[in-house]
Structures are given as structure tokens and as C-alpha cells.
Amino acid sequence: MTNEELKTSIGIRLPSAVMEDGSDFLTINIEATDWVSFAQHLRNDASLQFNFLFCLTCVDWKTHLTMVYHLRSTIHRHELVVKAKVDRINPEIETVSHIWRTAEFHEREVYEMFGVKFLNHPDLRLLILPDGWEGKKPMLKDFEDPINMIRL
């Protein structure tokens, strides 16, 4: 599908979504509460079939965090980006690890680096950071650690 067709198709399913065109991919901004049902639709709808989550990450905007999901369909060869704003103090969003299995590791990484809590995640623990780093959120912009200095 072209970006225009994707826009129409998604606009019907989720009228509250704000769509941006212009960067590399078509970007869909949604509410965090809509995410799981929307993800199910993206994965399972016959004309969409976004079966490959190739990147999952988070950006700290100092006032809020944004979850960024890069999706591709290996069947229809189209791509899009879904973004969901989450609260910075108490970030929460539903997991999609049951839809795309790769999300399990990626969500654990975002959890330890940004502190985003993925609801219903099967195994939300530290993955890369060693024990004792719970709650420190090193990828946040205001993180300072004089011992483990991570800048050049």
C-alpha cells in the first residue's frame, strides 16, 4: 500500500490518530491506551499485515517520553512508524510481546534504560544492566552518575 492508502485505511480504524507525512516513514501518533488493540489490527488485518517489528525504542523529550515502533510488512512491503506519548514520571504502556515476539527483549531494554513499565509483559527484568541498577534509568537526559560516566 502507498502512504496515502495507509492513511485512509488507518483513519477509518482509528479516527483519533494524528498522521504525519514527510520524514522517512508515515508516522502515526496515537494515545498509549489505544496501542494494543491498534497493534493487533496492524498485525492481523489482511491488507496491512505488519508482521515485522524491526525497531522499538523510546525518546526522552524532558517533558514526556515517546515510544517509537517501526513496523514493516514483509508481505506487502510497506512500512510505518507508530508513536505513543507516555508520562515521564510514571511511564506505562501495554506490552506487544505477544504480537511480535522480538518486542520482549526490546521492551526489557527500554524498561531498564528509560523506566517505561510494560503492562502484562511476561518477564520484565533488567536485561543489559547489572543487578542494582533498578530504577536508575541511565538513558534519561537528566541522568548523572559520577562513577559510571557515560559521555565523552
Binding site: 515485522f52 522480538t102 526490546h106 541511565p138
Partner: protein, 371 residues
């Protein structure tokens, strides 16, 4: 960590593999739950070589951060640098001169061969055959010598810069590459004679570590791991960059989905890389090796994403720019990280002896996973 060794309440045995173990090719730590000889669960513990490269890059300029990325997947250093340089070029809208594009592709393919050579030798060593390692390193050495002459380094080349390559090719480059192709072609039959056709090797590789195409996609597998299951995912074919769309080469696909299929994909990929190099080595266009760029690079406000096919799969570089001289946020979608997430699925229900045969064909490079 050590208290995890022991038995569970159901009487299953818990053992550690790594972090220091020759078969993990680096500091990977696996906690394995065993019922007799059958694997019930494998849980990777990562981070022994985590350096927070993404955070570091936030304080480095667009020229500097590329050098850090050589240290991620050190066996595909060129291709890492290439993906990052392309992302900056996309943001700055820099045209790369034709000569630089050809040099980049030549270097990428040499890197791919060197990486697969090392994997081939190490894979055979994991299964107890020591000799192939030396044969693989004989060919790999001559690639490293070529790299050393032109780039000044053997592993972390740092040769790609935004706008092209850092300096021109060494005068010996063409001759040495041709010599290498000669050497490679005269030795290629040894690979099959020594390893591929070996019945013990085949018995250990076939029907081990099976992953279906649907699962491979769901687990985010790319590169030879996904192509071994028949998933067409070669970035060079589907999202061509530089001059890949003008070159003749095949995307290597196998349908077995087991360790042997992934092994065959990499072996055949080396031959495709040789084919690409042969097309280009006599046709390097004259001209600039680098576009004229400003001394200080500033990406416009926005988001940029590029993907490149490394030896391990699809590397994605995601830059969020606020218009400054350093990236606001940078994310490396490393192929190894996603490939590793499929490990538990690959070996669950199998025997402990097959773990290494399955893990070896994932071709893990730990710094690429930990970043």
C-alpha cells in the same frame, strides 16, 4: 549469579554457560534449565561488555560518533560506519561521488567475506574441528592486509565518513584484491571437502535449531538467520543503497530453517560477495573520493532512519535531531540483539549437546548485542 547454579524445586538442573566460554564467542552468559539432557529454558544474561554507546553518541558530533560504531559489531566495522554515514548524508542531503560509492561497496563486501570466514572457522571449532579455523584465517588475513593498507587498521577501520571515504585507495588495492579472489577461488573447494561434506558435521547440523519463517519474522531475525528459513530479507535487494541496484548478485535463500541451512546461506553468500567484487574491481570510476562538506555538520530538525545489510543482518540507524551538532537521540537496531532473542525458541526441547551447534549458526557478536 552463582546461587542460580543448582536445582529447581521440580528437580531440574540449572547450569551456567559463560560469561567466559570459548563457544559463546565473547562474554555472553547463558543460564540453562535442564531436565536430564533436554533443554527446558535458556536465558541469556547480557551486558558484560555494555558501554552505553547510544548515550555516548549523544555527546559526540556527527563526524565523531561514527568511530564509536566500529566498536559495536567489530567484524562488520565497515558496514556499521557505512550505515551511520548514510544516515548523516540523508539528513544533510549530501550526494556521494560515484567513486566513493564503488569503494564503499567493495569494502562492504570484503568485510562480509572476512566476517563469514571467521564465523566458518569458529563454527567448525565449536563442533570440535580445529583445522578449518586456520584455513579460514589464511584467507581472512589477506583481506585484513588489504584493509590495513588502505584504511590503516585491520578491525576498526573508520574509513567511511559523511560524504564518502576518508582517503583514496592505496595504489596496490586493485592488484591485491585480484590476488585475493584468485586465492579464494583456488581454496573454495577445501571448505566443502573439509566441513560441508563431512558426515559427522552434517549429522550434528541437520534438524538442529529449527525456526519456521513465521517465527523468524516474529522474533525479528534478519540476515542469514532469517534467510536460512526462506525469509527474503536482504536489505541490498529490497531497499538498495549506493549502487547495489545496478549490480548482479543473488539473494541467497535456503528453506531448511535448521543450522545446516544457515551454514549453507553464509557459505553461498561469500561467493555472491566475490561476484560483486569481480564486477567492480576493474570498474572503479575516476573522480573524487569524498564530497565537499562543511567542517561542522548540523542535521536539520527531524528523524532519519537508514538500514544496511551487515554480515549478521539488518542494521538500522535511527537519529533524532533537534538541529544541533550532536544527535538528540540515536538508536542502533543491531541485528545480533534480535537474532539472540530467538535462541531460546531455537534450542528449547533439544539436547544440551545441540546448543552450541544452534548458537554457532546465529553468528553472535557480543558487543553488537550489548552495545
Amino acid at each position: 549469579m552463582f546461587e542460580e547454579v543448582g536445582t529447581t524445586t521440580e528437580g531440574d538442573l540449572i547450569i551456567n554457560v559463560g560469561p567466559q566460554h570459548p563457544a559463546t564467542h565473547g562474554v555472553l552468559h547463558l543460564v540453562i534449565t535442564l531436565n536430564g539432557e533436554t533443554i527446558k529454558n535458556v536465558e541469556p544474561h547480557l551486558g558484560y561488555i555494555h558501554r552505553s554507546i547510544e548515550k555516548m553518541c549523544e555527546s559526540l558530533t556527527y563526524r565523531q560518533f561514527i568511530y564509536v560504531t566500529s566498536r559495536m559489531d567489530y567484524l562488520s566495522a565497515h558496514i556499521n560506519n557505512h550505515a551511520c554515514a548514510m544516515c548523516v548524508e540523508k539528513g544533510m542531503q549530501i550526494e556521494v561521488p560515484a567513486r566513493a560509492q564503488v569503494i564503499r561497496v567493495l569494502m562492504d563486501e570484503l568485510t562480509r567475506i572476512a566476517s563469514h570466514e571467521l564465523w566458518w572457522g569458529a563454527m567448525a571449532m565449536d563442533l570440535g574441528a580445529f583445522t578449518p579455523f586456520f584455513h579460514a584465517f589464511r584467507e581472512r588475513e589477506s583481506i585484513n592486509d588489504i584493509m590495513e593498507e588502505t584504511c590503516g587498521a585491520r578491525l576498526t577501520m573508520n574509513y567511511m565518513v559523511p560524504g564518502g571515504v576518508m582517503h583514496d585507495l592505496h595504489p596496490n588495492f586493485q592488484k591485491r584484491v585480484k590476488d585475493f579472489i584468485q586465492l579464494y577461488k583456488s581454496k573454495i573447494h577445501e571448505y566443502d571437502e573439509m566441513v560441508t561434506g563431512n558426515i559427522i558435521f552434517q549429522n550434528r547440523m541437520k534438524a538442529v535449531g529449527y525456526i519456521s519463517p513465521e517465527d523468524a519474522i516474529s522474533y525479528g531475525c534478519t540476515g542469514p538467520v532469517a534467510r536460512g528459513s526462506g525469509v527474503s530479507c536482504d536489505t541490498r535487494k529490497h531497499y538498495p543503497y549506493e549502487i547495489y541496484d545496478k549490480l548482479e548478485f543473488d539473494e541467497v535463500l535456503e528453506t531448511g530453517g535448521d543450522s545446516f541451512a544457515r551454514y549453507m546461506v553464509r557459505l553461498r553468500e561469500m561467493q555472491q560477495s566475490i561476484r560483486i567484487i569481480e564486477q567492480l574491481i576493474d570498474n572503479i570510476p575516476e573522480g573524487d573520493f569524498q564530497a565537499k562538506t562543511k567542517a561542522v555538520l548540523k542535521l536539520p530538525k527531524g528523524e532519519f532512519y537508514t538500514k544496511a545489510e551487515t554480515a549478521r543482518g539488518e542494521l538500522g540507524v535511527y537519529i533524532v535531531s533537534e538541529g544541533g551538532t550532536t544527535p538528540y537521540r540515536i538508536k542502533f537496531r543491531s541485528p545480533g540483539f534480535s537474532n539472540l532473542s530467538a535462541l531460546n525458541h531455537l534450542v528449547k526441547g533439544g539436547k544440551i549437546g545441540d546448543l552450541i551447534a544452534a548458537m554457532g549458526t546465529l553468528d553472535l557478536v557480543i558487543p553488537d548485542i550489548d552495545r
